[in-house]
C-alpha cells in the first residue's frame, strides 16, 4: 500500500514493507523522475527484480523515466476539453515550445504533457502550468501563459496588487503586539518572533503583508525544518491546536488586530496559512 503521510512526518525512511508504488512516488517527488541507478538500488533493497519495477514504473502515467523540466505544462484532452478545442490548444503549446507531448525542451525549462482529464471539465479547454489552472484557454494566450510561468505565478507586485494587504498581529498568549516598526519588510513593519530549531535560538522577521512570504532571520533555517515559535515578550510558545493543511506541521497562531486569528505553518518553506476573521477556529 502507499498510504499518504497524513501527519506530515516526511522524515520517515522508506521501509521494505512499503509498496513499490509508494517508494516510486517518493523517488519521483524527490527527483522529478525515476533515475535508473535509483531504481537499481530499489531492486537491490526490496529484493524485487528490476523487470518488476520497470513494469510498475511504466504502467502508471504518474511516473517518468526521463528527467523533467523546471516547469510542467499539462494540456487536458478529456472529452469535454476535446470537444471544446483541447487538441488545438495542445498543438499550440507544442508549437510554442517546439516539442511534442512527453518531451522536455533542450534548455530543461519546460516539460509538456497531455492528460486525460483533470476534472475541471466545465472550464474546458484547460491547461495546467506548475499547478495553476488556466480555464477556457485560447491559442492566442498560450504564449503569454508560458512566459508568465517563467517568472512564477506567485510573483506579486507588492505595491500595486490589491490582493496583498498588511495585517497587524499580537501574541495569542499575552496579546502584546508583535509588530516591529524598526525592521521593514516589503516596506511595512515586520512581525518579530523568537524561534528555535535544533540547538539554535534567534529572531525571525516575517512580512506583515497577507500574501507575501518574505522573511529574514538571524540564522538560516534549512528548508523543511519545523521551527518552534515563541513570543519575544511573554516567551510563551505560540502553539495552536491545528495542523497545516498543506504539510501537516503544527500551525502557529497569532491574533489579528481588527478581529480574528491568523495561523502560519511552522515548516520552513511551506506556504500553508489560514486567516480566520470570526475567530471560530478549529
Amino acid at each position: 500500500m502507499n498510504p499518504v503521510d497524513i501527519d506530515g512526518d516526511s522524515e520517515k525512511p522508506a521501509k521494505k514493507s512499503d509498496s513499490l508504488i509508494a517508494i516510486l512516488e517518493n523517488i519521483q517527488a524527490k527527483f522529478g523522475y525515476l533515475p535508473e541507478d535509483t531504481l537499481r538500488e530499489v531492486a537491490a533493497e526490496t529484493g524485487r527484480s528490476l523487470v518488476d519495477i520497470y513494469g510498475v514504473a511504466t504502467f502508471y502515467r504518474a511516473f517518468s523515466l526521463k528527467p523533467r523540466g523546471r516547469h510542467l505544462v499539462s494540456a487536458c484532452l478529456g472529452t469535454a476539453c476535446h470537444v471544446r478545442g483541447g487538441p488545438v490548444i495542445a498543438k499550440e503549446i507544442g508549437n510554442q515550445l517546439g516539442i511534442k507531448p512527453g518531451q522536455t525542451t533542450s534548455d530543461k525549462e519546460f516539460t509538456f504533457e497531455t492528460v486525460n482529464c483533470l476534472g475541471a471539465c466545465a472550464l474546458g479547454p484547460v491547461a495546467v502550468v506548475d499547478g495553476h489552472y488556466f480555464p477556457n484557454m485560447s491559442t492566442s494566450i498560450v504564449k503569454q501563459v508560458l512566459e508568465k510561468s517563467k517568472l512564477g505565478f506567485e510573483a506579486i507586485e507588492v505595491e500595486t496588487d490589491q490582493r496583498v494587504f498588511p495585517v497587524e498581529v499580537s501574541c495569542s498568549r499575552c496579546n502584546h503586539s508583535l509588530m516591529d516598526p524598526g525592521h521593514l519588510i516589503d516596506g511595512h513593519p515586520s512581525i518579530r518572533i523568537t524561534i528555535s530549531f535544533g540547538s539554535v535560538h534567534g529572531w525571525l522577521a516575517l512580512s506583515s503583508l497577507y500574501g507575501s512570504y518574505n522573511v529574514s532571520s538571524e540564522y538560516e533555517i534549512p528548508p523543511d525544518t519545523i521551527v518552534n515559535f515563541f513570543c519575544p515578550h511573554c516567551h510563551a510558545e505560540l502553539l495552536g491546536a491545528s495542523r497545516c493543511g498543506e504539510c501537516g506541521a503544527p500551525m502557529v497562531p497569532m491574533i489579528v488586530r481588527g478581529g480574528g486569528i491568523v495561523q502560519i505553518c511552522s515548516r520552513r518553506g511551506c506556504k500553508g496559512h489560514m486567516l480566520d476573521l470570526d475567530g471560530e477556529n478549529v
Partner: protein, 1058 residues
C-alpha cells in the same frame, strides 16, 4: 482539538455548535473548489478578508470558504446567506461593492445573474433555472460546509447518522435499511449497495475485511466525485464508518486519483480532524468500535477504476484486472474480503440513515431511487454539476437545467458513461435517465459524465477519440481488447482521413462485437460502445466521411484541410489569396479568387462568407480573419482583365445548344462555364436586364448597380446570347425550347414569388409581398412604404425590405415582426445588426392573426405573442401561441416576407417536370436532373431563397453535369477532399505587429449617414489595414503545403508516457 470521549458528549457538542451559531448574521460564501480557484476565487477571498478587516466588519459579516456549488459556468461566484443572493462571475472590484451592499443590507442589483433568454435579473440561487429543476440532496451540502473545518460539518448534522447507528448497535438493521432504500452503486454498474454489504458481512470473520472508497474518477468528462471529495469529505468518512459497522470491516481505504490535488488535501485534513475529534480510529466515541481509514493515491491509470485492477494497485502492483469470481467480497485486497463503493454511493449513506430508507426511496423511480449527480459539460450553456432524481428525462437536463446550446449550433447528442458509454442522439432526448434505459439505448450510466455535442462535433472523431483513449489504457491482458481497440482505432483513423471504404464499417462492427464478447473486465466490455452507438445513430456521418470525403463538423483535419477553403461552396482558397495580399501580390490574389469564382466583386459585397464562419481564428477564441473585406480590397483594386479565362475549342461542342432560364448567379455561372467549353448558350430572362435576384432583390446600398453590371458584362461573350423580357410559362414553354433545337435546358429562374400569409384582407391596399415591394423600388424607383411600416418575416428579404423601407421618404417607423426569437431568424446576423443600428425595430415572438382594413386601406394588424418551446428533433426551437396575449399594431404599410418560391405559372402540367407542393422543382441532387430528360434545375428554384455563393456553386455543378450529359458521359461529380496544394511563402510579420490579434473591421458609413441614402454602406480597406488584417491569418494551409513539415500525429493522448 479536544477529542470527544462518548456519544453523549458528542451529542452535546453537536447541540452546542448548532445553537451557538447565529443564522441571521450575513455570511459571504465563496465557492472555491478547483473550478472556483481556477477562475479566481482565491483573489476574492483575500479581498473579502481585507475589506472585512479594514472596515471592522468581522463581527457583522462572516465569511465561509466552501467547495463547488455546481454551477461552474458562473465561477467565481459569491453567495450571500441567509438571503440566498447569488452573484455570478465576480471580480475583485465587484467583491468590494458586494461587501458594501451586504453591510447596508441591500442587494447590488446590477451584479445579479441575467437570464440569457429573457434578460431578466434573478437574485436568488434557488430561482436560477440551472438550480430550479434539480434535487440537490448531496450537493446542497457543499454551500453550507467549509470542508477543512469539521465543526462546520457537525453544525450541519454531521456525524449524527454515525451516532444513530452507534446507538442502535444493530448491523443487520443498517444493511436492511440500505437494501430498502434501493441505493444502486453510483460508480456505473448500478449494483445494489445493500446486497454488496450483506455479502461482505456474511464472509467468515477471520479478522481483516476491507472497505474501499473508489475515488479514481478516471472517466474523462466526469468530475462529480471530485466536487464531493473537495467540498464535503466528512460525508464520505461518515458513510464508510456506517459501512464498517454494518459489515464488520476493519480497515478503510480511500483510493483517490493523483490528478485531484485539492481533493487529496481536503481529505487529508478531514481524516486528521476526524481522528483528533475521536470519530475515527480506535474506540470511536467510546463505543468500543474501531475503524481507521487510509488514503492511497493512484498513479494515473484509467483501468484502476475497475475494482479488481484497483485492488492490485492498492497492493502495489501493476493495475491489471483479474477474472471474477472470486469476487472482491470473497477475495480482495491481500486475499481478504473487500467491498468497494464509489464516492457518490458513500456520500448517500449518511443521508439514507438520517432520512430513513422509506424517505430516501421516495425520490426517483422504482428500481432507480435517489438522486444522481451528472457533470453536464461540452457544448452546453450552463455547464456544471447537476443533481437530479433518477428517471428524469435527458431533455429536462439538457434544455431546462442546461439551458440548451451555447451558440447557434444545434445540439445533436449527449455522450454518457465515459469511454465505455455511448452517444444518444437528440431525437431520443425523451429517454428517462436510469441505469436500465441508458443500457438499452446502447450507452451506460457510468459515473455520470454527460457531454453535450453539437453540430461542430464530429461523431466519427468522438468514436476515434475514445478508441484512442481505450487503446492506450487497455492493460493488455486480454488479446482481443489489446489488439481489438488498436485495430478499431486504425479503421476509425482511416475513415477520418478519407482512406476507408464502406466495407470497413462492417469490419468495424464485427470487431466491436468480438471485443465486447471476449474480454474480461469492464474496460473491454464497454470499449465497443462508443463505436456501436455512433454507428447505430450516426451512420450517415460515417458514410459522408467515406463516400463524400466530407466532415461536416470541420473536425477531421485530413478531410477539411484549410477550413476556409473547405467551407466555401465553390472551393475558393481564401488562405491563398489572403497570403498573396499579405505579400502585396494583388494581381496574383485576384487570379486566385477569379479561378474559382466568376463574381469576385459581387461576392466581396454580399457573400455570407462561410469561410469566416469556419475560420480557425474565430473558432479558437479570437475573431475570424475578415476574408470578405479582404476580397473586396482585391476586387476593387485589380482590373478584371488580369485574369483571362481560357476558352477551349472543342468542335463537337460547338454544334450543341443549351438553353438557360434565368440570369441570376446560377444561370450566369452555368452559361459562363459552358461557354468556356465551347457550347452555344442562350439565356432567357424575364426582367429587362440580366442579374436575377441580385438585381431585383438585393438593395443598392449592399451592391451598387455599376459593380453588378460590370461584373456581368465581363462574363458575357460570343457564345452567350441573352434574351431579356422573355418569361417561361408566358412567352415560351420547355417544349418550345426543345422544338427550337436546344439540346439541354437548365432551369435557374429563381424564387421571385412571395408566399402569402393566408389571412383575410391580405390583398388590401397598403399590403405588399416583399418581392413586389423590392422590385418596384429596384426597377422603377417606386416608394411603396408609407408612415408606420411593418414587415412580417425573419429572412433576408424581410431585412432587406425593412432597410429599403427605412430609406424611403414618407416612412416614419419600420418594425420587423418575427414569430420566433432573434436567434432563430434565418437572415444573416450582420444584416440584422445593421438594420437595428439604422433604427429598424424588431419585435420577436409574435405572429400576425388578423388584418383590419378601414376605408379600403390597411389600418391595423392584429398579433398574438408566442413562447419558445423545446427544440425539435432538428434542434430548432418550436413556438406556441400564448392564449390571451393578443394585441394590435396600427400600421400604414405591411410588407409580407415569409418566404419566396417560383412563379406558379412557370411550369404547367404538361412540361413533364415534377414540382413539390411548395413550388420547388424536384431534382436528383447528385446530378441536378429533373424528371424530364435533358432538363436540369438548380438555385433558388430548387432550394428556396438561398445565398449567392450557393447559386454560383450550383451553376458550376450544372455546367459540369450538362457537359457530361451532352457528351454521353456518366453524370457524376467525383468526391474528393480539397486540401491546400500550393505553397505561398508566409510574409515576415514586422516586430511591431506581432502582438496584433484584434480584427480590423472594414470602414463603413455610420448608421446616421447611411439610413437616408442608398450609397454603399460598407467601404474598402486602406492598403495598410488590408495587409495588416491579412497577416492575422493562421495559415492553416502550411500544414499541408510546407514541404519540410512531417506528418504531425502528436496531438494524441497517451504519448506522454516515457
Amino acid at each position: 482539538m479536544q477529542s470527544v470521549k462518548s456519544i453523549e458528549e458528542f451529542i452535546k457538542l453537536s447541540k452546542r455548535i448548532t445553537t451557538d451559531r447565529d443564522l441571521q448574521i450575513p455570511t459571504i460564501v465563496i465557492s472555491a473548489g478547483t473550478c472556483g480557484q481556477a477562475s479566481g476565487a482565491n483573489d476574492l477571498i483575500r479581498v473579502a478578508k481585507r475589506e472585512l478587516l479594514y472596515k471592522s466588519l468581522t463581527e457583522r459579516i462572516h465569511i465561509r470558504i466552501t467547495g463547488c456549488h455546481g454551477f461552474c459556468e458562473i465561477e467565481p461566484s459569491v453567495l450571500i446567506e441567509p438571503r440566498g443572493t447569488i452573484y455570478p462571475k465576480i471580480g475583485i472590484n465587484e467583491m468590494v461593492r458586494i461587501i458594501e451592499a451586504v453591510d447596508q443590507g441591500r442587494v447590488a442589483e446590477d451584479l445579479l445573474y441575467t437570464e440569457p433568454l429573457t434578460g431578466q435579473k434573478i437574485e436568488k440561487l434557488a430561482d436560477l433555472p440551472f438550480y430550479k429543476g434539480q434535487t440537490r440532496t448531496i450537493l446542497s451540502q457543499n454551500e453550507k460546509i467549509d470542508p477543512i473545518r469539521i465543526y462546520n460539518y457537525i453544525e450541519n448534522n454531521g456525524y449524527l447518522a454515525l451516532v444513530k447507528v452507534l446507538q442502535k448497535s444493530d448491523p443487520k438493521w443498517i444493511i436492511e435499511e440500505i437494501k430498502a432504500s434501493g441505493l444502486r452503486g453510483r460508480g456505473g454498474a448500478g449494483f445494489p449497495a445493500g446486497l454488496k454489504w450483506e455479502f461482505l458481512a456474511n464472509q467468515r470473520d477471520d479478522g481483516v475485511k476491507y472497505l474501499v472508497c473508489n475515488a479514481d474518477e478516471g472517466d474523462p468528462g466526469a468530475y462529480m466525485d471530485r466536487s464531493v471529495l473537495e467540498g464535503n469529505p466528512h460525508s464520505i468518512i461518515e458513510g464508510m464508518l456506517i459501512g464498517a459497522i454494518a459489515t464488520g470491516a476493519t480497515k478503510g481505504i480511500i483510493y483517490v486519483r493523483n490528478e485531484y490535488p485539492l481533493a487529496i488535501k481536503h481529505l487529508i485534513i478531514a481524516l486528521r480532524q476526524a481522528r483528533e475529534l475521536g470519530v475515527l480510529g480506535d474506540n470511536i466515541l467510546g463505543s468500543g468500535f474501531s475503524f481507521g481509514i487510509e488514503l492511497v493515491r493512484g498513479a494515473g491509470a484509467f483501468v484502476c477504476g475497475e475494482e479488481t485492477a484497483l485492488i492490485r494497485s492498492i497492493e502495489g502492483k501493476m493495475g491489471e484486472p483479474r477474472q471474477r469470481p472470486p469476487f472482491p467480497v470473497q477475495k480482495g485486497i491481500n486475499g481478504k474480503p473487500t467491498a468497494i463503493n464509489n464516492v457518490e454511493s458513500w456520500a448517500n449513506i449518511p443521508v439514507i440513515i438520517r432520512d430513513t430508507a422509506s424517505g430516501y426511496s421516495k425520490i426517483g423511480t422504482k428500481g432507480n431511487t435517489g438522486t444522481k449527480i451528472f457533470s453536464l459539460v461540452g457544448k452546453i450553456k450552463n455547464t456544471g454539476l447537476v443533481e437530479v432524481p433518477l428517471g428524469i428525462k435527458i431533455s429536462e437536463v439538457v434544455y431546462d437545467i442546461g439551458g440548451g446550446s451555447v451558440g447557434d449550433a444545434k445540439i445533436k447528442a449527449v455522450q454518457t458513461g465515459g469511454p465505455s458509454g455511448g452517444c444518444i442522439p437528440a431525437s431520443m432526448f425523451d429517454l428517462s435517465i436510469d441505469f436500465d434505459s441508458l443500457t438499452k439505448a446502447g450507452s451506460i450510466m457510468g459515473s455520470g459524465g454527460m457531454i453535450v455535442m453539437d453540430e461542430n462535433t464530429c461523431m466519427v472523431d468522438v468514436a476515434k477519440y475514445f478508441m484512442n483513449f481505450l487503446k492506450d489504457e487497455s492493460c493488455g491482458k486480454c488479446f482481443t481488447c489489446r489488439k481489438g481497440t488498436q485495430r478499431m482505432y486504425e479503421i476509425l483513423d482511416d475513415i477520418t482521413k478519407g482512406k476507408a471504404g464502406l466495407e470497413d464499417l462492417d469490419l468495424l462492427e464485427e470487431l466491436a462485437l468480438v471485443v465486447k464478447d471476449t474480454t474480461m473486465c469492464g474496460l473491454g466490455h464497454g470499449a465497443s460502445n462508443p463505436v456501436l452507438s455512433t454507428l447505430r445513430y450516426f451512420r450517415n456521418e460515417y458514410i459522408r466521411h467515406i463516400e463524400d470525403k466530407r466532415c461536416d463538423a470541420y473536425v477531421c483535419k485530413d478531410l477539411v484541410g484549410a477550413p476556409c477553403q473547405s467551407a466555401c461552396p465553390v472551393g475558393t482558397e481564401p488562405w491563398r489569396y489572403v497570403a498573396h495580399l499579405a505579400r502585396g501580390e494583388y494581381e496574383e490574389a485576384y487570379r486566385v479568387i477569379r479561378e474559382t469564382n466568376p463574381f469576385p466583386s459581387i461576392c466581396a459585397r454580399v457573400c455570407d462568407h462561410n469561410c469566416e464562419n469556419r475560420c480557425k481564428l474565430g473558432t479558437t477564441g479570437s475573431k475570424p480573419v475578415a476574408v470578405r473585406a479582404l476580397k473586396r480590397f482585391i476586387a476593387d483594386r485589380v482590373d478584371p482583365s488580369s485574369y483571362r479565362p481560357v476558352r477551349q475549342t472543342i468542335p463537337e461542342n460547338e454544334s450543341k445548344k443549351v438553353a438557360i432560364v434565368g440570369s441570376g448567379p446560377a444561370g450566369l455561372t452555368t452559361a459562363h462555364y459552358l461557354s468556356l467549353k465551347g457550347y452555344k448558350v442562350t439565356i432567357f430572362e424575364a426582367d429587362r436586364e440580366p442579374g436575377g435576384m441580385m438585381l431585383a432583390g438585393i438593395p443598392e446600398y449592399r451592391l451598387p448597380r455599376n459593380v453588378l453590371r460590370k461584373e456581368i458584362e465581363c462574363l458575357l461573350d460570343d457564345n452567350i446570347t441573352v434574351k431579356c423580357g422573355t418569361t417561361l410559362g408566358k412567352d415560351f414553354t420547355v417544349d418550345d425550347l426543345f422544338k427550337d433545337g436546344f439540346n439541354a435546358v437548365f432551369l435557374a429562374l429563381g424564387a421571385h414569388h412571395s408566399k402569402s400569409m393566408g389571412i383575410e384582407g391580405e390583398n388590401s391596399k397598403g399590403i405588399h409581398p416583399s418581392i413586389n415591394f423590392l422590385r418596384e423600388f429596384n426597377f422603377k424607383g417606386k416608394n411603396l412604404a408609407k408612415g408606420h411600416v411593418g414587415i412580417i418575416g425573419g429572412g433576408n428579404s424581410a431585412v432587406d425590405a425593412a432597410r429599403v423601407a427605412l430609406r424611403q421618404s414618407d416612412v416614419e417607423s419600420v418594425t420587423i415582426f418575427y414569430r420566433r426569437s432573434r436567434k432563430e431568424m434565418p437572415a444573416f446576423q450582420m444584416e440584422i445588426d445593421a438594420a437595428l443600428e439604422e433604427g429598424v425595430n424588431l419585435q420577436t415572438l409574435v405572429s400576425p392573426t388578423g388584418i383590419i382594413v378601414e376605408n379600403g386601406r390597411l389600418s391595423k394588424v392584429e398579433f398574438i405573442r408566442n413562447e419558445l418551446g423545446k427544440p425539435d428533433a432538428s434542434g430548432r426551437r418550436s413556438f406556441k401561441e400564448i392564449p390571451g396575449s393578443e394585441f394590435s399594431a396600427p400600421l400604414d404599410t405591411l410588407i409580407v416576407a415569409i418566404g419566396e418560391q417560383m412563379y406558379p405559372y412557370a411550369l404547367d402540367g404538361t412540361s413533364g417536370i415534377e414540382t413539390y407542393k411548395g413550388g420547388a422543382i424536384v431534382i436528383d441532387e447528385s446530378n441536378l436532373s429533373t424528371k424530364r430528360e435533358g432538363v436540369f434545375a438548380g438555385g433558388d428554384v430548387v432550394t428556396g431563397p438561398n445565398s449567392v455563393i450557393n447559386a454560383i456553386a450550383t451553376g458550376k455543378k450544372a455546367a459540369h453535369i450538362i457537359d457530361c450529359y451532352l457528351n454521353g458521359k456518366p453524370m457524376i461529380i467525383p468526391a474528393e477532399s480539397r486540401l491546400p496544394e500550393v505553397y505561398v511563402e508566409p510574409v515576415a510579420v514586422p516586430p511591431e505587429d506581432q502582438g496584433i490579434t484584434e480584427r480590423i473591421e472594414p470602414p463603413a458609413l455610420s448608421p446616421e449617414d447611411r439610413k437616408s441614402t442608398f450609397a454603399e454602406v460598407e467601404l474598402c480597406y486602406s492598403e495598410e489595414d488590408a495587409r495588416c488584417e491579412a497577416r492575422r491569418c493562421l495559415r492553416c494551409d502550411l500544414e499541408f503545403t510546407q514541404p519540410e513539415v512531417e506528418e504531425e500525429e502528436f496531438v494524441e493522448i497517451g504519448e506522454n508516457k516515457s
